[in-house]
Symmetry: C2
Subunit: 214 residues, 2 copies
Amino acid sequence: MVGAAPPRPYHHGRLREALLDAGVALAREQGPEAVVLRAAARDAGASHNAAYRHFADRDELLRAVCERCMSKLATLMEQRIAAAPADPDPIESAWARLGALGRAYVEFATTEPGWFRTAFAVPRGTHSFAPGEGVGASGQGPYDLLAARLDELVKVGAMAPESRPGAEYAAWSAVHGLATLVNDGPLRDLPATERERALRSVLDVVRHGLRARP
Amino acid sequence: MVGAAPPRPYHHGRLREALLDAGVALAREQGPEAVVLRAAARDAGASHNAAYRHFADRDELLRAVCERCMSKLATLMEQRIAAAPADPDPIESAWARLGALGRAYVEFATTEPGWFRTAFAVPRGTHSFAPGEGVGASGQGPYDLLAARLDELVKVGAMAPESRPGAEYAAWSAVHGLATLVNDGPLRDLPATERERALRSVLDVVRHGLRARP
DNA sequence: GATCGATGTTGACACTGGCAACATTGACGA
DNA sequence: TCGTCAATGTTGCCAGTGTCAACATCGATC
């Protein structure tokens, strides 16, 4: 058994990327707690401690993985907004796009629970992502995408301008709450049909809570 | 230095309670990740492994601590509901109580962030708390308290009966979402005044989203 | 061709969860 | 009275983790 294993070169070449890929894979399967330096290094084909040449500590690796997961969320939201059914009535179209955004958020939480949890597991001490981080193809993050939908609602007259300030908080909270309750929390075992009912209820309340009132 | 340390008895006597107290204290300071068997045992004045006589493993201890934290949340909600301002108009009173409930939820998340995170950090594999667990003085958990408020809204005519099914999801999600975003998530550094604005916006959308529409 | 900085490796330490074997104590029955 | 035993607590150990320090390799650059 001499020379059986082809000796890989001493230097990996793209270890940083490999560590990130491994971290993202771990996060997908088991959530943010599983993003562990030694495991990532193993999967990347390097020995532990190699990671320290690319990340100051475990938190820095985790933060980078979180940012990637946030990008994935933003990307799905972009896709679902683009695919929202168009309606002759611009008001109806605008509501449909907001609904598609909310649906995408919850869809991500249920189909990729590990990624969803990781996206929001940014280590303490780190502030939110800097501009340009955690964004989708359009360069916008989930928050930006939501704000754009709300601005559109005001523009087409679906929502009163007085209601606009603070509306992000309400819409975001409602959808984020359902997503976490279903993904992580007490509603984690809710059957799919009931989950759909819950989502409808949430979107309905947001729509009627935000809409221009006579 | 002979006989300086008063030797505590070999058997602790109430180790289970002491472990729980230590766990709750750790959770309060640093959240659920800090609920660690060895630290709890140290703080309780026993050596590691003593804990295994009372909890099968770390998850079982954590679960018991989570349940205590949920009780604390339920208790605060009960208090704030009871203290809600009464109004001659029963409809207004009912809304005030729902608002007090939502406020209490977010208040708990901001004033006791460790406990709040722990309340919802029930280990995977465990289902929600059994009936009678995680409840306040009235024997009701947060979900029960919310359902009672919504039933009351229907009863006094503030909310249409058709809107009642699924309303828990919407109300709970909205408040839970804000609480986690502010406690744990991207809004964790929101200044207090802005947080208050966000809370108002959330409560407002819930109210107008749920209310009987002409 | 020698030097040096960037990158990877090996070895060590302290911490955790968890298993096994042993120690202490109080209750209970012969 | 005394021996037995189950409940409870302890010491010792192992694997896995983050992190520091010392050493190894390699490519670019003078």
